[in-house]
Symmetry: C2
Subunit: 123 residues, 2 copies
């Protein structure tokens, strides 16, 4: 993996901007064809590949949502980046930490979203 630390963080920001577009197909294009998604972590549901990922975002964007970073993203000495953010979707707020890994072309190979029941609040 040759992507530098700063490029990893740029990729996180691009990812979150794309989430804010609420366009499922734009999300799918960020992922490698064999990418794996675990959202939320511990749910026991592992998504694999573009078809699963498209269905996931179609469902997620059925109600418009926005995401916003809470802190600067963190890089790594490898292919991973991590970032604390909030999701606002209707009257619901999620506090999440995401971890993305990327291939050498900058495509996402894995996405994991850490949040639990106590990170979900509804106004």
């Amino acid at each position: 993996m040759t992507t530098s630390d700063t490029r990893l963080k740029d990729a996180v920001r691009r990812y979150l901007e794309t989430v804010n577009s609420n366009v499922p197909e734009a999300m799918v294009q960020l992922y490698r064809s064999d990418a794996r998604v675990e959202d939320p972590v511990g749910s026991g549901k592992l998504l694999v590949g573009h078809e699963d990922i498209r269905a996931f975002y179609e469902n997620a964007f059925a109600v418009p949502l926005t995401v916003q970073l809470e802190t600067e993203p963190r890089g790594s000495f490898g292919d991973a980046a991590a970032y604390a953010f909030r999701v606002t979707r209707g009257t619901t707020t999620l506090k999440v930490i995401g971890v993305l890994t990327f291939d050498e072309q900058g495509l996402i190979t894995t996405m994991r979203a850490f949040y639990g029941p106590s990170d979900i609040t509804t106004a």
Copy 2:
């Protein structure tokens, strides 16, 4: 894994308080005997077991350090929790996201620290 979401976050806070004690043996006792540590992620160095972990913290605490949360920790629907924090060690600051997993007794089974070169600043 029966540990609830809130218990996971409490365990993160206890872990960070123990880091602030700067006592290597106190850290070792938080980990299961076969625990794995990757700090930083992508370094290619995977620590396994109490002996590796003790040596890691003895080295880390050779210069006193303090840690402080940047955001509320995140739980999960499984055995994992994630948290954004800062490490201050002498004139150096690290911005890190940590991910811990726990066994049913509350012992740490894995610790991963996400930070890269651009997350390290020296005054």
